[in-house]
């Protein structure tokens, strides 16, 4: 079974990269390099250290923003889910945040917080936090009532009902919120480097595009996608470790 799923993964990678190579060779556009050209550019950047230096810059707002979004988002989501009053007070903020066109808000953020790290962290948080908060709140609100009744009838304290029943019961939806939120956070990190000040990976993308080095540009985009996928896989490992019985197979298995 494990071999079969590995085989399918390799097969789908082969199909996608093959299609990329063919599209690059036709070419569909002058601005679209082949797969092998992009990989060559990627390895070149990896070995001359420029990719590492770029990620050292990009990961700063990304890591800070994702950490803030995950911890604060889950905490606020729990609170909203448990208290109707908090729901009334805070839910609208996150619904608006989720619906807002972020690119239009960036000039406002730059005016308030400058062009440094703070603004970029904000962009990551605005992208990542709403879905984490809203998913957590919804999952907490939908805890099966028979589970909380079971806890009460077996003498759980209020805190135990939350930590031993409500949070684990909500965990599949919390984790799916984290997956969506963190992917959005990756988008936010790159967006902030394209829209605020070109640094890190955003700088590689902007600069290589301006000198028509499209292979390098696609290599940078490819590397951020790979990083995001690896991180989401890592998140699944965490979930499996903590809540084994909840996990009944994911698309990426």
């Amino acid at each position: 079974m494990a071999n079969r799923s590995l085989f399918l993964k390799l097969l789908s990678a082969f199909v996608v990269f093959g299609a990329w190579e063919i599209a690059g060779r036709i070419p569909v556009s002058y601005a679209f390099p082949t797969f092998f050209e992009s990989m060559a550019a990627l390895f070149k950047m990896m070995f001359d250290g420029s990719l590492l230096a770029a990620y050292a810059e990009t990961l700063k707002p990304l890591a800070i923003g994702i950490l803030i979004s995950a911890f604060l988002g889950i905490a606020i989501g729990l609170w909203i889910g448990l208290s109707g009053w908090f729901d009334w007070l805070f839910s609208p903020i996150f619904i608006v945040m989720q619906a807002a066109p972020l690119a239009a808000l960036i000039p406002l953020l730059v005016m308030m917080y400058g062009i440094g790290l703070t603004s970029k962290v904000f962009v990551v948080c605005i992208m990542a936090m709403p879905v984490i908060v809203l998913n957590t709140a919804g999952a907490v609100r939908n805890t099966p009532s028979s589970l909380t009744e079971m806890g009460k009838s077996f003498l759980a304290s209020k805190a135990e009902v939350i930590t031993k029943i409500i949070v684990p019961a909500a965990s599949p939806v919390i984790f799916s919120g984290l997956r969506l939120g963190i992917s959005a956070g990756f988008i936010g990190a790159i967006l902030s480097e394209l829209k605020i000040t070109p640094t890190g990976v955003g700088d590689i993308i902007t600069y290589s595009r301006s000198i028509a080095d499209y292979a390098t540009m696609y290599a940078a985009i490819f590397s951020i996608i790979v990083l995001a996928v690896l991180f989401l896989n890592f998140l699944e490992k965490i979930e499996k470790f903590f809540f084994a019985g909840n996990v009944r197979g994911y698309a990426s298995d």
């Binding site: 099966p144 028979s146 589970l147 009744e149 079971m150 806890g151 009460k152 009838s153 077996f154 003498l155 759980a156 135990e160 031993k164 029943i165 684990p168 019961a169 965990s171 809540f243 084994a244 019985g245 909840n246 009944r248």
Partner: protein, 275 residues
């Protein structure tokens, strides 16, 4: 075929269709004048009922008659609007270690193994991990699930899941077991097996069972005492005590004339309330 030697000796009311005794020492649970209103709707009205120690009492009635509401009030999960509940002579106003609950939908933690699910009640009581897992393993074996300790609920059949729920309720060693339609979500054959197992459980464990069901046959088969509840607002319309069925072999009860008579009689009294 009147019952002559009742296994619980101190019960004066073991004959025919008599109302249960109000002698509090013989009653594990007493419900006194309990009413429950949801807004303007009266779910229960001035309901009183005694549950004799060491016996199984069924709450039977058409749907909407408030039998689950009554059970949850006894469990302390719902607050009565008025009236009181006494367990073993003490008035109670919330869940307590003297009562354990078996849920209709099993209420198992899907992220926890069978072992953790069964020991969950003990975990909440602060019993040390190795001790509670020993106790849980014993009850898992008792309900016939030895070897499934590490399985997760979604890997088990409905019947096996309810065995886990039962083992969890037994492991906390409460005097009173509250069962809310425990067999309604399992298939017919498993259900019959459960009913037979329940009879031996009542005979062997010195516990009081309160059993909610909507099945007349099931109630007559397993009960020492059947309380018929009628709806809107709920009240106890009749208390029936089958007298000769306990001595019978569990496989011949369903052919017993008394069993058939009581089933018929209950259906006659309920049919006008069922549309």
């Amino acid at each position: 075929m009147l019952q002559t030697d009742n296994p619980v000796q101190d019960l004066p009311a073991g004959h025919g269709h008599s109302v249960a005794s109000s002698n509090s020492s013989a009653n594990a649970v007493s419900v006194r004048n309990v009413s429950k209103n949801y807004g303007t709707v009266e779910a229960l009205k001035d309901l009183s009922l005694e549950f004799p120690k060491g016996q199984l009492t069924s709450l039977l009635g058409p749907s909407g008659c408030g039998k689950t509401t009554l059970l949850k009030i006894i469990a302390g999960l719902l607050e009565p609007t008025s009236g009181e509940i006494e367990v073993d002579g003490r008035s109670v106003d919330g869940p307590g270690p003297d009562r354990a609950f078996v849920f209709q939908d099993f209420a198992l933690l899907p992220w926890a193994s069978v072992l953790r699910n069964v020991s969950f009640g003990l975990e909440l009581r602060g019993v040390a991990k190795s001790e509670r897992e020993d106790i849980a393993a014993k009850y898992i074996a008792d309900v016939g699930l030895a070897g499934f300790e590490k399985s997760y609920p979604h890997e088990l059949s409905g019947g096996m899941r309810q065995r886990v729920g039962l083992a969890r309720a037994l492991s906390v060693d409460s005097d009173v077991l509250l069962m809310d339609e425990p067999f309604s979500a399992v298939d017919e054959q498993t259900r019959r097996k459960f009913q037979e197992d329940l009879l031996s459980l009542v005979a062997n464990e010195n516990k009081t069972f309160i059993f909610v069901t909507h099945s007349i046959e099931e109630a007559v088969y397993v009960s020492d005492q059947i309380a018929i509840l009628l709806p809107r607002p709920s009240r106890v319309s009749d208390i029936i005590r089958p007298s000769g069925l306990r001595e019978k072999d569990s496989r011949s009860i369903r052919r017993d004339p008394e069993y058939l008579d009581i089933v018929d009689e209950i259906w006659e009294s309920l049919r006008s309330y069922v549309e």
